[in-house]
Symmetry: D2
């Protein structure tokens, strides 16, 4: 597999533009973070997520550096990536305050896209609107580094008992 | 940059598990597809998207092979990836029938998650519910390879004139 | 209470415009339908709902005559009334196929408004997208009498055991 | 028309239960409010809406007394009525701060139902999340008189120029 990997990388280096190789560096650095750090999902590494959880205030904040690899064909952040950030920040917020042995899964996600995602970083934060025995409703927002809000979302999460 | 890339890859190979290296192979193969093929977004390559567009029926279908790299900590497809697929298949469906010089951007996205995303591939398809002069409403569904529907979504898209 | 009612009616008749009295006639006729017919909700009477349920196809259709009483200040059907129709037609569709002793309650409702609600009648129909043990996902559409679709919605319903 | 109205009322009085007549009194009192007060919509009167608008804080609050007439067959407030309240409070909040000659119409509405609507009154409030040139995104919440939040919603509104 090692040879295959180096061969793939050589082909990318050979044919790729400078922007491609920048994007690839960003991706590999992100992948390495998953291997090195205690991330439980590859996506967290690939997006270089930095998390801040405040259990008392029941809020969660995630910051990510932007890279062309996440852009759509209009050269702004892909709506699916914004959705991934919102889903992750909301899920992290609720999981942080659940009792041992319980987890939350997304049941419904609603996103309002407000402004184009551009700049160097995105910052997103979540707030718990409702925390019941079986469900939670959470809101989340995504901001550019110039402070502009680019998306607002809400989600319904089901609280489930994790399998031993 | 080439040296940095090979160094990064070596570090991943050194510390990564077999699953990590499988995931990395999948990612590099996907990245290579973006470089080789006429994909306009890296995400399309990374997800190894195969598109089928039927302009007459106004439908679009996308198939992707699954890989652990897109899983969440419960080992099922991350909700943000399902959102990315829905946003992409809906956007592709409407962009395919817009007049030259026009594009569609997501304004609102709503997703109902129905079943866990597992298996070898995901197939998603979109249908245009409303196509007006300034907005479009589109629905989309995602299926596992065992035929089970895992998500249903709808979105509002704004139709904009592309900058020359 | 009878005197109070007649007094109220006299005051309405005295001060109301002709449009007001038309609206009031429509309301009272609707209220009477609730008293006479086996409607289980006042709202069904007030809106003069006519239901058609097809248990085999798992679809439901509701038709209502329009009246100025349900209009907003722009003289088109109030978005809340369209929401009421969608919620009702979806709920009716799922309740029609649940086992004895079970009912469905709306957990999440998403509506795309497409065109102004005008004309003499509105027709709405629902289709079951997913029917699980604990939840159902249903879509609904509302049409004017000229055939124009004015709204598309989806909802998540929780299936609960009714109290004996 | 007056005779028809009194005849209709007599039939309701004759066949209706005491609860029916209470509901009818509430409806007629609400209808009268539309005739007497500067309400621009019948629905505002029928629901006995009391509005408080704070233009500086960009918030709006509406309180309504509850009545069996708005209940569903489970004897809790109909989801469509909760939707009507949310749509109204959000629309009122944005309309209050628009320039002369402009109005807002609902384009998309998303509602999370959290707890059953019961008690004597419902209080709802809206907050403007985004106010752009062409669109606004607004959130709204509905509370029971015991303080329990029963619903949280968000909506996209289109800002349009009113016809002279």
């Amino acid at each position: 597999m090692k040879d295959v990997l180096h061969q793939l990388l050589n082909q990318c280096i050979e044919k790729g533009t400078e922007e491609d190789l920048h994007a690839l560096t960003y991706l590999l650095e992100g992948f390495q973070k998953k291997i090195d750090k205690p991330y439980t999902q590859y996506i967290d590494g690939l997006l270089h997520m930095e998390r801040k959880i405040d259990k008392e205030k029941k809020t969660c904040e995630i910051t990510v550096p932007l890279n062309a690899v996440w852009n759509n064909s209009l050269d702004i952040v892909h709506g699916g990536i914004t959705a991934t950030l919102l889903d992750t920040v909301m899920g992290t917020a609720i999981n942080a305050i659940l009792k041992e042995g319980y987890g939350a899964v997304t049941n419904q996600l609603n996103i309002h896209y407000i402004a184009p995602g551009t700049g160097d970083t995105l910052r997103c934060k979540a707030e718990i609107i409702h925390h019941g025995a079986k469900t939670a409703v959470i809101s989340g927002e995504v901001f550019r580094d110039d402070g502009k809000k680019i998306a607002h979302g809400t989600g319904t999460f089901f609280i489930i008992q994790k399998k031993g």
